[in-house]
């Protein structure tokens, strides 16, 4: 017998609508078992509630009135059920559950607690969405920066290749090279070895025509520990005509170093010049590292 059939049997027993066998069996059950007794009491309460709600069929209604309205206590039970049905507390609870309940699967105790639960849920969803968006945006920016870095690296590699190419050409005798510059400007570069290194070799000559807008002196050096360099350009008579500080060296293919010094051709005349290179191990400590000489021939 399933629960529904059992409930029906109990209701029929309460309405005295069972056989004597069914009656005896049920009475035997609840006389010895508390759970069955409580089930019957609950069935009685449900029967009373059905009566006051007008849900009993006519025959059952008559039976109910014959059996459940006999004593003052029984009538009081029925009136209690009627009052409960009309209870303001129950109606308010129904109204609050119907209006505010958005989580009917939760055993809500208070519409305010439900609202708080919903608010927390909404905040959690919004927070997660914002974090996901921020994460995507940061990833996108990182990708863009990586692409840019790759581009800069390629440009740097190209420049190094050009410098190395230039050095090689100078080493094979092409001491000067006119480099194609943007329209309206021409640069000439010469590679200089220090006077000590040159040891009396032929003087490097810089042909300076009127179309040259930049002169690049490429100073070759052995490896050293200087952090930065500065140069002073003098005539052979020792007159200082120009200086530059904060130069840095780049590694050369032969294992040495090169320092590139860009000089304006406007300060150069047809003359012999001496370029003194000073190495700076620190801000205060500076010493002459090398001397380079060259001849300018203006055309």
């Amino acid at each position: 017998m399933d629960n529904a059939e059992r409930k029906t049997l109990m209701t029929r027993y309460l309405l005295a609508d069972v056989s004597s066998e069914e009656r005896s069996r049920l009475e035997e059950e609840y006389s010895t078992g508390d759970e069955v007794f409580e089930e019957l009491v609950a069935a009685e309460n449900d029967l009373i509630d059905s009566y006051v709600r007008g849900r009993l069929p006519e025959g059952d209604r008559a039976r109910f009135e014959k059996r459940f309205l006999n004593t003052p206590e029984q009538r009081e039970q029925v009136e209690l059920a009627r009052s409960l049905m009309n209870s303001e507390v129950l109606r308010q609870r129904k109204a609050s559950r119907g209006g505010l309940s958005v989580l009917p699967f939760l055993p809500s105790r208070s519409p305010w607690k439900e609202l708080v639960a919903v608010a927390v849920l909404v905040i959690a969803v919004v927070g997660y969405s914002w974090m996901a968006f921020t994460n995507w945006r940061l990833r996108h920016e990182l990708e863009q920066m990586q692409t840019r870095q790759e581009s800069l690296q390629r440009a740097d590699d190209e420049l190094r290749r050009q410098v190395t190419n230039l050095q090689e050409r100078m080493a094979t005798g092409s001491d000067q090279q006119e480099t194609e510059q943007p329209p309206g400007s021409t640069m000439i570069a010469i590679s200089l070895a220090s006077d000590l290194a040159r040891s009396g070799g032929k003087q490097t000559t810089l042909p300076l025509s009127s179309g040259i807008s930049k002169v690049l002196l490429v100073l070759n050096r052995e490896p050293d520990s200087y952090l930065t360099y500065s140069v002073v350009l003098e005539t052979v008579e020792g007159v200082q005509i120009w200086q530059k500080k904060g130069l840095t060296a780049r590694p050369a293919r032969n294992g040495g170093k090169v320092i590139q010094v860009e000089v304006s051709p406007n300060i150069l005349r047809s003359n012999d010049y001496v370029l003194r290179l000073f190495g700076n191990a620190s801000m205060e400590n500076s010493r002459e590292a090398a001397v380079y000489s060259f001849r300018v021939v203006k055309r």
């Binding site: 629960n3 609840y30 609950a42 006999n70 209690l80 303001e88």
Partner: protein, 213 residues
């Protein structure tokens, strides 16, 4: 038939046979009494309290005379006999119909006083019930209102309520039965107290609430 009342000595004897521990015996006695009251009601035997007293009276008398191993089972047997006796008596009883009424010149007039009294009683009962529901512990009140708020498919709703509350359906049912009985007792005391002084009212309600819990 209902003249003999359970004497103190016989009552003590009955309690001792229910359980060696007096407190446990008292609980068993009350549980049995509650069941027997319902048994008589469900068998249309009234007034049930007096029939239960008769049952215990007979059991207590027989305890001294017979070797009874199962006192509770014996009490149920006595109760069933009393039901049969009551039904036989009812079958032999001839109800005298009321004398035919003479034409009442005021028979068409509405009983306004009765209607007003009825409404006032309803209002008082509603107020008392409201008060008694509010006096329940928060958890009990919420559970009770949730249990009775549904109007359709109560079985499934109550099963879900039990599950969400961490109770078996049987435990939930027992708790609801107890709460409903307590509310009924509270409302009954409250209705009676409407005729009392305010301090007597509070005393009645407080004593009844503690008692009910």
């Amino acid at each position: 038939m209902f003249k003999n009342r359970l004497r103190a000595k016989q009552f003590e004897g009955l309690l001792q046979r229910l359980h060696a521990d007096r407190d446990a015996a008292g609980e068993q006695y009350e549980a049995l009494r509650r069941k027997l009251i319902k048994f008589f009601e469900w068998n249309a035997c009234f007034p049930p309290e007096e029939l239960v007293d008769e049952t215990f009276d007979r059991v207590a008398q027989r305890i001294g005379e017979l070797e009874i191993r199962d006192v509770v089972g014996f009490a149920w047997g006595v109760a069933k006999n009393i039901v049969q006796e009551a039904h036989k008596k009812e079958a032999r009883t001839v109800h005298v119909p009321d004398l035919p009424r003479k034409e009442n010149p005021l028979s068409g007039v509405k009983d306004n006083e009765g209607i007003i009294h009825g409404k006032m009683e309803q209002e008082r009962r509603a107020e008392c019930l409201h008060l008694c529901i509010l006096r329940l512990r928060d958890q009990d009140r919420e559970l009770f209102l949730a249990y009775y708020q549904t109007e359709s498919d109560a079985t499934q709703h109550r099963q879900q309520l039990a599950s969400h509350s961490g109770l078996t359906i049987g435990t939930l049912r027992v708790r609801m039965n107890r709460l409903r009985k307590d509310l009924g007792n509270c409302a009954h005391r409250c209705l009676r107290s409407r005729k009392m002084r305010p301090d007597q009212i509070e005393s009645q309600l407080k004593g009844g609430h503690d008692e009910g819990n």
